[in-house]
Amino acid sequence: MSGFARELRVLRRMTVAEIVQQSIYRGAWVIYMAANICVPIISLLIWRTAIASGAQLPIDERYVTTYFVLLSLVTMATSSWMAGFLAADIRLGKLSSWMVRPASLLLGFVANNLSEKFLKLFALVPMVGILWWIFRDSMNIPAGPGHWAVFVVSLVLGAILVFTIDLLIGSLAFWMDDVAALAQARLIIASVLSGAVVPLALMPDWSRGFIDHQPFRFTVSFPVEIVAGSLTGSELVTGLAIQFGYVLGFGVLARLVWSAGIRSYSAVGA
């Protein structure tokens, strides 16, 4: 257990150092987040127009509005961008110097992920707040802190899930020369299946069974649904259970792939 406590201490130090380092680019974070919120706003306006002009959607205006207002926040909070960097560290041998250190290379990526999200939060929350205020009359606000607590739990689980999938793709660099195409494919597939482009509730009926149970739903759509939608108590519990299952499953898989990779690693540049 003391090993775990030490890892946590190292992680805290590294995160603080990263925050200091990244806050140099605070202006850029604000602009990146302004860019991040553009497409959800466009989608929001389009679907509201569709509803206003009489389209018979399976979801109402309040759901659509809440969904797209929260979308940019959730996609940001659950995002991961490590695959390319991890692959480069493995390929170019930077991993070697980390193998003699008393902490994992992955800890550095966790610190980077946490610190950038921390700074992005400062930029994004005011923008989402303004958007929320503009559309305050058609927002679904769940009653009581219970829903919000579940939302936060599922947000954290979603972030771990995306990070694990990303780690899995990056780890393939132990055996493959170039994982950039795979990482790109993951982003493209995820943008549709996670609900980042269109709410999954609008997907056609024949795809229901698949759409509701595939892992990407639990990276973005599910946390948003907790706030925006009308998930029943049992749907909520089942959803959280499936989400936790995916986190566990992908976690074990990533762990296996990573240690297999470390064993087959031949230390380029050492």
């Binding site: 602009i31 466009i42 989608s43 018979q56 959607l57 482009v197």
Partner: protein, 283 residues
Amino acid sequence: MSGQRRYAGDRAPLDRNWLAKQRRHLRLWRRFFVQALVRETHYRAHLVTTLLVGVVQLGLGIVPILLLFGYTDEVHGWSQAEVIALAGMFQIVTGLMATFVAPNMNRMTTYLTEGELDGVLLRPVSSQFYLTLRRINVAELSNVAGGLVVLVIGLVRSDAGPSLVHIGQALVLVACGIVLLSSVWSALSFLAFWLQSVDSIGVIYLNMVEAGRYPLAFFPVAVRSFLTFAFPVAFASTYPVQALSGDVGWLPVVGGLALTAVAVTLVRMMWRRGLRTYASASS
């Protein structure tokens, strides 16, 4: 020229007149294009990946449209086929921008903060022309072809039979749209003179331009005027498609030309202002 001191002795000016200067730049641009073409043949895999990514993006752009029209037959007078034609038109415009403009805009920070502009200023060429159009990514032209296919499919399915006049109107509008969007992107990139780094601003442009995937009529009125006058993506997709289906008057065409003239003048002025603040980075 006559009042200026000359250090290299008397020499005829490079161009006889304004027209000759434009022609020289056109010749230069043709050279850039040929060079890019030759370069592209060295990286054939690049062409394939660019094409694949483009096709997937086009498909992804159509997904919301297909879903939307699964729930209704028309939205504010636009049918599914017309909106698909619009998606094709948008792909053509973004493809052309990605070919001829984007590779340059993405380098603007490097040009202005690492002093590469120094080398350009010494050359007998308009520096703004050079920085805006020097680099060409030929592979992206494949996406223009893809967009053309989607446009034709959309037009055929919506039973549009554009006359020559309508096609002419559409071409003028698309040209205006491309120049207008390039002007906006240039203006954003030229902020590098004052802000040092504009990489993140390019990302804003690329996200905002996504609004062009949908007809102008799909947006609230205030947003419509923003997308017509401030961030004029309407000229790149909505108006040309309306022209092809025969229901755009001459007003948007004339307005587009006027707006383009204003935008180009403003960007030119901004470039001159910026150049005066440029203090070189390497010398």
